[in-house]
Symmetry: D3
Subunit: 150 residues, 6 copies
């Protein structure tokens, strides 16, 4: 039967002890979607994207947040990330964010990927909010997750 | 016509200069929904919620993240928050998170509220992920925003 | 004869170079005691402990502080912690805090355990201070420390 | 009757809303004692104190920690500190640490003073621990607290 | 006669108590120069600058560092910055960085401007270092500093 | 032909994936020079250096900054540093800062050494700025860099 690994029998939160687990190569890909008005998409395409600062700012925000995940998510371990990438795709109804994180560690990096994708989406939200009051972040989820011997 | 306030004419990102704006009392309420399986809701109700650690951990994560917003969202200002609150409602299809932030400052706190709601939802995700591989965070948005003289 | 390892011959502070040391499994347990009035203990038992938020908040504070030790204690190394646990025991004269930290690293984790125990005690202090003006933190010390091959 | 201000009726933790409180000048002085062996006191006097690095390192640790209090103690507010000072007195049975913090804010700074004194004591502990395995931090408490119109 | 304001009569470091000083509007502009090879300038102009990510990344690094100055420079005060801007000019012998910081506070922001300019230059250095092993940062200085009633 | 390793073909910034690289022992030494007036050098020698706090404060600032490099320089990896040392030499025209960093990792530590040297120089600047309005930081560069099997 399924259990919550981060809670002990008394219901107390804990960091899972990853000491006994082997170091393996791990990758997680997470995504998030900043849903915005069509006029915001046009504005982004006209003013911001050709020159790149808007997406670059959001990319840096996502990368930095992924590296800081253990300071944000209380029961996460500090992990030495080998790579963090954040990619954007401008779609008709919003901007899709994909964050890929790789490590060689005793535990996985899905929280790092989710944190990177989410903070990148929120940084985009921040830069667009003067022009669009009805944006939402939707579909924050892990797309893929894999591990292999290292 | 609408513009992106965080980008100058050359397309370069900038922090908006809030110096000329008056200090007013401001409040923003943001929400996020951690969508999970019905079995995860049962597990939360059975193992975690009666004793409170799981929601308390996520609440602290949200409060701490709201206070750290300017370190996460690159063009945000460091603001002296008067109060941050994070509330959870367990629903049939997931856990709803509502984050309320108040300040007396020259600029608003919607990014702080969004960051608090989102990080609280991600902290919940982290604690439930061993039991549910298909969770998503949905509906991250500003619910209300107001200001008044202080 | 004993020496201060963190000071060179000229009296200058330094991080000890742990490069030549082997990676071994290490554990340190530290404790601290928040001494408070009997009425505060009654208040905790009545209002806070059954529902758990107070101790959960202090637990998260201790875990997060342990992970941030190298940012607080200037000559400490950044270490990849395998596990951090914080336990509380309510005693007649106060609340005892025990923090356990494990790593596989070139140097020990007693500072991480001490930092976790102390910050958890201070977080408890913060939540109780409106009701009790005479609390103290006492007995901050390393209880046990061990290492083994990994 | 006394209550825990940081817990609501449902037992949930919260940051106290300081918005309605006036801005006043505030000062808090906290102290801590690093209790150590007489031989450690001799070692400090001989090797470390004449040249000053050891106490200076601990002083910086305390000042920096006081400024970071809201990141360590979950329900504390980020406050603009006007001054932080950390003083040491070498006594026969240990080193006494006194941390003084001043602000002009809507809430007091005892947690900042306690955090500064404690982290300074722990930083001293770190630098002396190779020579003394039985140190303790004792007597962490608020010595004085005052406020006045500003 | 001139004195070091950050050291007391006993030679101990201290944060200057800014409590008695009035809140005034302040601005500081600092600059730094990343000196690099002509081939690196060509590479930047060809590969990086048209699309903007390189300078945007360095700009974000400088803005974020300026906001974090009090965590980096031990005796600095945490200040509420109204605006931080980072501008780059590509010159024949390198890239000039200018950082402008504004606040309404009891003390000035030259350290914030210097920190912003320097970290932006180091971030540029990081992105160019695979192509140029002989870069230097030169001329880190305060260009202008002013204050006015607010 | 030379390329910018931190930018992909589309001009987007990225963290270089260090996963495939071997773990080797690495050392980098960086330097910076705080250029100041002769009267400032006299002041330092008379008031600050005999008692040591000024240089100790700057040393701690440099060590702490080196450990925080990945939070400051966006595309840097979080590395487990084995040692960080900061040395000062008082020269006729200023104070020379040398920062040495060692690790066993998949990528080098020149950014850590540069960050440590620079922040130490800026911390010195901060402590001397009341007495000298024309200081500059010059000559920030990597002095040596080496690696060896570990």
């Amino acid at each position: 039967m399924k259990k919550l690994s981060h809670v002990n029998k008394k219901g107390e939160a804990r960091m899972v002890d990853v000491g006994p687990k082997p170091v393996v190569a791990r990758e997680a890909v997470a995504e998030a979607m900043l849903v915005c008005a069509a006029s915001t998409i046009r504005l982004l395409k006209k003013d911001a994207l050709p020159k790149g600062d808007v997406l670059a700012v959001a990319r840096v925000a996502g990368i930095q947040a992924a590296k800081q995940t253990a300071a944000l998510i209380p029961l996460c371990h500090v992990l030495p990330l080998d790579a963090v990438g954040v990619e954007f795709t401008v779609k008709p109804r919003g901007v899709k964010v994909v964050c890929t994180v790789r490590t060689q560690a005793r535990t996985g990096v899905e929280m790092e990927a989710l944190t990177g994708a989410t903070v990148a989406a929120l940084a985009l939200y921040d830069m667009c909010k003067a022009a669009d009051k009805n944006m939402r972040v939707e579909g924050v989820r892990v797309a893929t997750k894999k591990k292999s011997a290292c």
